[in-house]
């Protein structure tokens, strides 16, 4: 650093720097860059004949208002503000929505979700501990909570009525497609020949399709804008973590309910299975979302921490699997569970890449962890390539069933994502591309999953004859 002989001036600069450091939108290197600028300016001004303190005043004034400056920095680096959300003080956001009003809205939405779960019981589809879960509940699981969650975001983001109504469309369509098809033996929720495979596929895919609608409500008009979708990815990760925590707490409550009421010879099973678990599961989606929105800073960036923890573990797992397979020469067993297992594996790898990207400073140069990510992606590609080859060889033998086509197509969708990801990572390492390109690719690919899931829900039952 060029230091000025003048002691008071250095003190002024130190104060200014400390003031800048307190801004959440600016990180260490930014402050250093701005301080460098200030010192250059001071040099030029003092050489032009100004006194030190005059020069300092002029230089600071020329730098501009720090509030305006940190707002601009916040716009350029929205990920740093995820925690504080000081960005977008659009005036409209703050005025009406006080935290008490928000709490009331959240509580009434939770109540509505719990009631929505009990509503079908009025029409003769009850939940009881003695019978299996009626497929009606499984098919419509996402429709109990997601529309209310969307209402919450429409309210919170202050969207207008037209937009709110247009967001209702996907849910209406989902309700139609989940319930109009005459599935083969709809009373059973298992595989063909007893139950219907396509019904199981609808159960699995509808939530993925509808999550896109929730996302549209979450980001409001920022879907195409920089950072909007990445914020939604962060939100989804944090919500998943909160949801698991709430579910664990719910498990404890359930256990105590059973032990305590059994002590006085009462059986609380009807209450637990009919009320506590289903209503709690629906309400927890809303509560979890509200917690993410309100209390981000508590377990902020938990998803990226988990990513850092599990990326090495998964890399080791994949490499060990490849080594074992090469060593023993055991062929891959092609069953539905295996197909789905490999899909889930790829989904986990994509998730690890996505959350690593969401927490990363896109401007940082490649480091060791990026190398590990590339290794993870490449080994996942190899494992998947081997398994796909095995499946392709045998799938013609067994014929095309919905249970094979859907996982296979999903496998391909994830494979495309990972191939491009590996390529972009390699470019990034060769200094021929930026990390931002990789982030953009992941973000651009997000709707593909939901659109495909929607296709499975809409097209598969009629195409495969409701089997």
């Amino acid at each position: 650093m060029t230091r000025f002989a003048d002691q008071p001036l250095e003190e002024h600069i130190a104060q200014w720097r400390a003031y800048l450091r307190r801004r959440q939108a600016l990180d260490g290197p930014d402050v250093e860059e701005l301080e460098g600028h200030l010192r250059d300016e001071l040099m030029a001004l003092t050489e032009a004949g100004l006194a030190k303190d005059e020069a300092f005043l002029v230089a600071v004034k020329r730098m501009g208002s720090l509030d305006a400056l940190s707002r601009e920095f916040a716009r350029a680096h929205s990920e740093r503000l995820w925690k504080q959300l000081v960005v977008a003080p659009d005036a409209t956001d703050q005025s009406a929505n006080t935290s008490r009003a928000e709490l009331l809205v959240v509580l009434s939405l939770v109540l509505a979700a719990a009631l929505a779960v009990k509503l079908p019981a009025l029409f003769g589809i009850p939940l009881s501990p003695d019978e299996e879960l009626p497929p009606f509940y499984a098919r419509n699981a996402s429709l109990f909570a997601f529309p209310l969650l969307t209402v919450y975001f429409v309210w919170k983001r202050g969207s207008d009525v037209v937009r709110g109504l247009s967001l209702a469309l996907p849910f209406a369509a989902a309700a139609v497609f989940a319930n109009v098809y005459s599935f083969h033996n709809p009373g059973r929720l298992d595989s063909f020949p007893q139950g219907s495979d396509t019904q199981v596929l609808t159960v699995l895919h509808l939530p993925i399709a509808l999550w896109l609608a929730v996302g549209l409500a979450y980001v409001r008009s920022r879907w195409l804008a920089n950072g909007g979708r990445m914020d939604f990815v962060r939100f989804s990760g944090e919500l998943a973590i909160y949801y698991v925590l709430i579910a664990l707490g719910g498990g404890v409550v359930t256990a105590f309910t059973f032990t305590m009421f059994s002590a006085i010879d009462m059986d609380p099973a009807w209450f637990v299975a009919g009320w506590l678990i289903p209503c709690g599961a629906a309400g927890a989606v809303i509560i979890g979302s509200w917690l993410v929105e309100a209390k981000q800073s508590v377990i902020e960036n938990m998803a990226p921490v988990l990513t850092r923890l599990f990326t090495p573990l998964f890399t080791v797992l994949l490499l060990a699997f490849l080594a074992t397979m090469a060593w023993t020469g055991s062929p891959i067993n092609v069953k539905r569970e295996v197909l789905i297992g490999f899909d889930l594996l790829l989904a986990v790898v994509v998730g690890l890449v996505l959350y690593a990207a969401s927490a990363r400073d896109p401007q940082a140069p490649p480091d060791l962890f990026d190398g590990l990510q590339l290794l993870l992606v490449v080994s996942a590609l190899v494992v998947d390539g081997v398994s796909l080859a095995a499946m392709a060889a045998r799938i013609s033998e067994f014929g095309f069933t919905p249970n094979r086509v859907a996982p296979l197509c999903e496998n391909l969708i994830l494979l495309v994502n990972l191939s491009v990801t590996a390529w972009l990572y390699a470019r990034f390492f060769g200094h021929r591309g930026s990390f931002a390109a990789l982030e953009r690719w992941q973000i651009a690919y997000l709707p593909v999953y939901s659109v495909w899931a929607g296709l499975v829900v809409v097209m598969f039952p009629p195409v495969f004859g409701y089997r």
């Binding site: 060029t2 701005l34 600028h37 020329r62 501009g64 305006a68 400056l69 601009e72 680096h77 931002a436």
Partner: protein, 112 residues
């Protein structure tokens, strides 16, 4: 004559890219170059350049690296990338279209 805020904001990207197309540079020098080129008409608050630079970096139009300055202090140098040059060409066409349109109507206003 001071330019309006919107116009300053809109012209920031092409201006910064064009300056970097002349050669690698750093924040303070870019500001000086802007003042020099505009004859003082374009007054930026100095700090505002940095968010613009960071945004361009994130979009992949410029690349940055820290290096020692002639005085031994660490300084962040910016360099235009291939995408940046393409973006500059695109912006140039847009500005030329705006310029041509305005020129056309003002020429007519003069002759009438």
């Amino acid at each position: 004559m001071d330019l309006s805020k919107d116009l300053v904001a809109a012209s920031a990207t092409p201006l910064v890219l064009a300056i970097l197309a002349e050669g690698d540079s750093y924040g303070y020098a870019i500001i000086k170059r802007v003042a020099e080129l505009s004859g003082g008409h374009l007054q930026w608050t100095d700090g505002m350049l940095y968010p613009v630079l960071h945004r361009l970096e994130r979009q992949g139009y410029v690349a940055a690296k820290w290096a020692a300055s002639e005085k031994g202090r660490r300084r962040k140098y910016y360099r235009i990338t291939k995408e940046g040059r393409a973006q500059l060409a695109a912006q140039r066409q847009q500005w030329r279209a705006v310029d041509g349109t305005l020129r056309g109507i003002w020429m007519r206003a003069c002759t009438v």
